[in-house]
């Protein structure tokens, strides 16, 4: 017990010191505490209830929305929403949620958990509820493939944890054992869905029982959809929590809460956020929040800034699009969005991995996990590629079927903004990665704005 208290005190002192220096102190206090007591996540007293949220996409948004929604219910919520989702960040939040004597101060903890960190976090945290959003391909180097991540999470999971899982993801929906209590959420068939998977990253294509190629009642992207084995050996789980009747114009959708259908405010039209909304609703229902309050909460909460941002200069839209390098699946969604933009467009593409420019030679295999084929569209009249790996990007674009006369290569990422054709374009896209957002994304945006402003 003394060691636990020492770890708590060290963590709290570290947090105080960091805050005095003007830093957030959401990670280092956890590192300090874990050095004193490596098992502090399990040894420290937890809030009365603990919810963890994990998955490749949506975990940040869903944990933030859950924390906000539960705060609206008058609960004291401990959450790592402003900090790290690794073991140190979870530890720092747990320490912040107890007094100096180690007594819990929060009613409930909501933790975003990096899925790769499950081995370090889950055994100690032992959440009452684990929300699983999806598992799709991520960094080849770090995450290998989604089934590997599912194995890590399942291996670390207590059978007492209630699972709230995405039924439309056949990998994450298989987490845990048959002893885990579980409910599923899903988004019903949409007009834009298909029935045949396509693209480079389809991670579930065969029946897990007989290996026959699956049929799809609806297929959305990657392995997301509702599948059935033609031999009858297998089908996607039935979801008791479902989103449907999405009306973007009216800003509403229907939330089917285990047979109780309610109309609710649509927090965002992007399909990813529809999944986030139904996941939040399902989790609140499992937590026992009154259903009237569940529906009402969507009038008051909204997702953080999305990965795209549009500004208009004269008749032209500048669309800034976060295109996460090293993660092909994320790039595919960005390219799909670009392709869906009506009218003639041009693009600046800068998605080299900054951290590997001078100290390594980037493994661009991930670009072949991304569906650059969306960019082989006649309405995309020019793509200016900047950066160290521009030749690799050009080759990938050419293999995808992009007319090579439309590909322009510029060594400087920022100068790519000067080379892109603006005349006649309804939209000019600024595609950049996460790590070059400030050094490339911002100056490109500024130059595009200046050039368009000078024309109007």
């Amino acid at each position: 017990m003394l060691r636990v208290l020492l770890a708590i005190w060290a963590g709290k002192l570290a947090a105080l010191a960091l805050r005095a220096l003007g830093r957030a102190g959401t990670h280092v206090p956890g590192i300090v505490a874990r050095k004193i007591h490596p098992g502090i996540i399990g040894a420290i007293r937890h809030p009365a209830r603990v919810v963890a949220v994990t998955g490749t996409n949506g975990k940040t948004t869903v944990s933030n929305l859950l924390a906000e929604a539960l705060t609206h219910q008058g609960l004291v919520v401990a959450s790592n929403r402003n900090g790290s989702n690794l073991a140190a960040g979870v530890t720092a939040t747990l320490i912040g949620a107890v007094s100096w004597a180690g007594k819990p101060k929060a009613d409930i903890g909501v933790f975003e958990m990096d899925e790769r960190s499950a081995k370090l976090v889950l055994p100690g945290l032992a959440p009452d509820i684990l929300v699983g959003m999806n598992l799709t391909r991520d960094s080849i180097k770090r995450n290998a493939h989604p089934a590997y991540i599912a194995w890590i999470v399942s291996s670390a999971l207590s059978e007492k944890t209630t699972l709230v899982l995405n039924a439309d993801d056949l990998i994450i929906s298989s987490l845990g054992t048959e002893n885990n209590p579980r409910v599923f959420f899903a988004v019903d068939k949409l007009p834009t869905d298909g029935t045949r998977p396509h693209g480079a990253a389809v991670d579930v294509a065969i029946c897990p029982v007989c290996e026959t190629t699956l049929d799809w009642n609806y297929w959305r992207f990657n392995h997301i959809g509702k599948a059935v084995c033609p031999t009858g050996d297998f089908r996607s789980p039935d979801a008791s929590y479902r989103a449907r009747d999405i009306d973007a114009a009216a800003g509403t959708l229907s939330l089917d809460l285990d047979g109780d259908v309610r109309s609710a405010h649509l927090i965002n039209t992007n399909i990813v956020n529809v999944y986030n909304e139904i996941a939040v609703a399902a989790t609140l229902d499992v937590l026992g929040v009154d259903r009237d309050k569940i529906v009402a909460v969507f009038d008051e909460i909204e997702p953080p800034t999305t990965r795209f941002d549009t500004e208009r200069v004269g008749d032209t839209a500048i669309v800034r699009l976060l295109t996460k390098g090293l993660v092909g699946v994320a790039c595919s969604r960005a390219f799909e969005y670009l392709a869906s933009f009506a009218g003639r467009k041009t693009a600046v593409l800068n998605i080299d991995e900054v951290s590997e420019r001078t100290t390594d030679v980037e493994n661009t295999a991930w670009t072949y996990d991304a569906d650059y084929e969306y960019l082989a569209d006649d309405t995309l009249e020019q793509i200016v590629v900047g950066g160290v790996r521009r030749h690799d990007q050009a080759l990938r674009l050419a293999i995808a079927g992009v007319d090579t006369s439309r590909i322009v290569l510029v060594e400087s990422e920022v100068d790519a903004a000067d080379a892109v054709e603006l005349k006649g374009a309804s939209g000019v896209f600024n595609l950049h990665s996460v790590h070059n957002a400030e050094i490339t994304g911002n100056p490109v945006q500024k130059r595009l704005r200046e050039r368009l402003g000078a024309r109007s």
Partner: protein
């Protein structure tokens, strides 16, 4: 002549973008016939003529599934290798043809198809990622690529370490494991390599050589040649820079 290229089990063997090896090859030879063989099909090479048999990166479960499907055809695979049929097995697909795959963390130790005297050991919390640059016999330019894998491969105890010719000898980076510069397997026209990239996209000179070997009577043409060569030269320049090589990429 028209080429027939068989992709084995693309519904499960499709990680790390490596199936673009075949997409690119097909763009170099638009007349090629691509046969996609699923797990529930009998491979085309079993009863017919195929110019190139390809198997790409698999999940751990996928490796076991591929072993089960290919094991009945072991003798046929060996005969085709001996008679000079081209094979390209990338990433962990080569391990499928070895003697044994051991994965303590996931709790299995399985026999492979048994074509090569190789054993693979997986370390699920010790994924290796690094660069490799090496020489391939008969090719004037280096082959470059990447490893990103849980497995290390070694020659079986019962076989002499030098009994299996490598695909390449690494000048930089590691080979089949951290203790050898010998990477992959080359037997006649069989190429097995753990390198991803995809290797045929990243190495236009090697691809041109492969095209010439596949069809000696047709002048090989590289798709998007200027882009492919520029990308190769740029990567090679980086690979030749000593500062970009790290301690874990050196042999132990």
């Amino acid at each position: 002549m028209s080429l027939t290229i068989e992709m084995l089990y693309p519904e499960i063997a499709n990680l790390h973008g490596d199936n673009f090896n075949i997409t690119y090859l097909a763009q170099c030879r638009p007349d090629a016939r691509i046969v996609r063989t699923s797990l529930t099909d009998t491979p085309a090479f079993v009863s017919g003529a195929v110019d190139l048999v390809y198997l790409g990166p698999l999940t751990e479960k996928g490796q076991i599934a591929a072993i089960e499907r290919l094991r009945p055809h072991r003798d046929r695979i060996e005969a085709l290798i001996e008679s000079g049929t081209h094979f390209l097995f990338t990433h962990n697909a080569l391990e499928v043809l070895g003697q044994r795959i051991r994965n303590d963390e996931m709790g299995y130790d399985v026999s492979g198809v048994g074509v090569f005297d190789l054993e693979s050991t997986l370390s699920m919390f010790g994924r290796y990622s690094g660069k490799v640059m090496g020489s391939v016999p008969g090719l004037a330019t280096p082959v470059v690529g990447y490893k990103s894998q849980f497995s290390m491969v070694s020659v079986s105890d019962t076989a002499a370490a030098t009994s299996i010719a490598p695909f390449l000898t690494a000048a930089r980076g590691i080979g089949r494991n951290r203790a050898t510069a010998l990477e992959g397997v080359r037997r006649n026209n069989f190429v097995g390599t753990s390198l991803i990239g995809p290797i045929l996209v990243n190495n236009p000179h090697f691809t041109r050589d492969l095209l010439a070997r596949l069809d000696p009577n047709t002048e090989p043409v590289l798709a998007h040649e200027s882009f492919a060569l520029a990308a190769y030269e740029s990567r090679l320049e980086g690979f030749r820079d000593e500062k970009r090589w790290h301690a874990h990429e050196r042999l132990t």
